[in-house]
């Protein structure tokens, strides 16, 4: 948190479009190691578009994304997972695939990797599910396994699209603790959030997308009773993640 000069990710006057439709203009941003940024905005405000641009999946019309994190240390968990749940793979095997960056595509796993994988599963409380096929997991268990993979990956930049949607409250508590710990260890986190409670518990900074622009606001201003009027729609308009 103290290394403010060494920002990991910078957005410079970013202009993003999907096809010919401008989605975002003049977005500025500076993401430090150890910071958890909440990305908020109504549906269609451009949150996913911005994430795509940060991950290098979408070329900006103008402006630029400067990211010092190597590609293999970036992790992105989209809300619509490309994950094939019918694939015959266990939780442990999924977590282990995160060792790709340190291990390459071709080498086998060694004992130290398995040990690390087991530690990660224990931290996430999914040790008992190690050999369970992915298709038989609940939403919360699956989310924990995926976070386990990013831990294995030693991700330095983590983008999570509504990580708490469709997960149980126990998982939410565990994930909030783990994500905070990852930030304390120096990772940069960007989370799309809809729930004010999660935002209050986790976010250090908030980037609010509205009307094609990005605006940085402080979390306290958002969660405070006397929130500015234009902020309120986000707390109501977005799809609330179930925490029950």
């Amino acid at each position: 948190m103290s290394q403010r000069s060494l920002s990991r990710l910078q957005l410079h006057n970013l202009h993003l479009a999907q096809g010919h439709r401008t989605v975002l203009e003049h977005v500025e941003g500076d993401f430090q190691p150890g910071a958890i940024t909440a990305l908020i905005g109504a549906n269609g405000a451009g949150k996913s578009t911005l994430i795509q641009a940060i991950m290098g999946e979408l070329r900006p019309m103008s402006g630029k994304v400067v990211c010092t994190v190597p590609k293999e240390r970036r992790a992105w968990l989209p809300q619509q997972l490309a994950l094939d749940l019918t694939f015959p793979m266990s939780v442990e095997e999924l977590v282990m695939t995160g060792s790709w960056p340190s291990h390459g595509a071709l080498k086998g796993y060694c004992a130290a990797h398995y040990r690390k994988g087991r530690e990660i599963m224990a931290r996430l409380g999914i040790s008992h599910l190690a050999h369970r096929p992915l298709g038989e997991l609940s939403g919360g268990q699956r989310q924990r396994a995926l976070i386990g993979r990013t831990l294995m990956q030693e991700a330095e930049l983590l983008l999570l699209d509504e990580p708490f949607a469709n997960v149980d409250s126990e998982t939410v508590d565990i994930l909030i603790r783990i994500l905070r710990q990852m930030a304390d260890d120096g990772a940069t986190l960007i989370l799309v959030l809809h729930d004010m409670d999660h935002l209050r518990r986790l976010a250090d900074e908030v980037l609010m997308l509205n009307g094609g622009h990005g605006r940085w606001v402080s979390p306290s201003a958002l969660t405070h009773q006397h929130a500015p009027a234009e902020v309120v729609p986000f707390t109501l308009g977005g799809r609330h993640a179930g925490t029950a």
Binding site: M55, K71, E72, R74, A75, W76, P78, L81, A82, L83, D84, T86, F87, P88, M89, L94, T97, W100, P101, A105, L106, G108, P133, R149
Partner: protein, 296 residues
Amino acid sequence: MLALLDAWFIAPFDYGFMRRAVVGGLALSLAAPTLGVFLVLRGMSLIGDAMAHAILPGVALGFLLAGFSLPVMSIGGVMFGVMVALLAGAVSKMGGQREDAAMASFFIISLAAGVMLISIGGSSVDLTHVLFGSILAINSTALLLIAGMSTLIVLTLAVIFRALVVECLDPLFLRGQSRRSGWVHSVFLGLLVLNLTAGFQTLGTLMAVGLMMLPATSARFWSKRLEGLIGIAVALAMIASTGGLLLSFHLDIPSGPSIILLAGSGYLLSALFGRYHSLAARWRRRTAPLPAEPST
């Protein structure tokens, strides 16, 4: 009884061509079903079929140039298969059309071109051989070629196994991990073409895909683990290829269809009686809760 067993299962192997054919079949059975398992898991079951058509013009050209020479026909087949795969990829990249639509177009063109080339240069017997296979044609060179290709496929699969698994499971994650993630897909398609080419001599170009797909789809009814799927598929393929050759020998039918029909009956039996998702499994699950009567 023993004499009957001998006549059915042992005596055919007195012939050299049968020995070669069965070894070739076993070699193919190691490589093809493994590729098939990945095709099924990637939801690309029909791509193998399409690819099988794609190699035909190459095989036919080889046949026109050098007669029934497996090496020449194989080189032609691999070249055409790779070319069609690249063309289909290029057309889909041009936009407007998805890869499967482009492939479907190229493959049917290839099939027509292949059949026409063989008809120009050969007889209808030649056409039957190329399309449906002939065990009589397997000489030592052909056997070496089949064994060599199968070995190459199995070894390459072993090397890229983990990358392939990650690509099947979560392509987005793989794309995030490396800029050149496309190579996994390309290598896999290359292996596919190689395997179909290796298979066409015994099975025929149209049937070669059967030894790849049927054991793999059958295995889905027996295992939920990747290792299990591959092991079962390989075992089924070995049984089907050996049994099919014997049937072909005794009943005087083309070897390709008899091997594939045997594998096909394995599939039907698996769908009926397999451990998972089969009719029997569904029936078991429906009846299982009933006996749970409280004991007094």
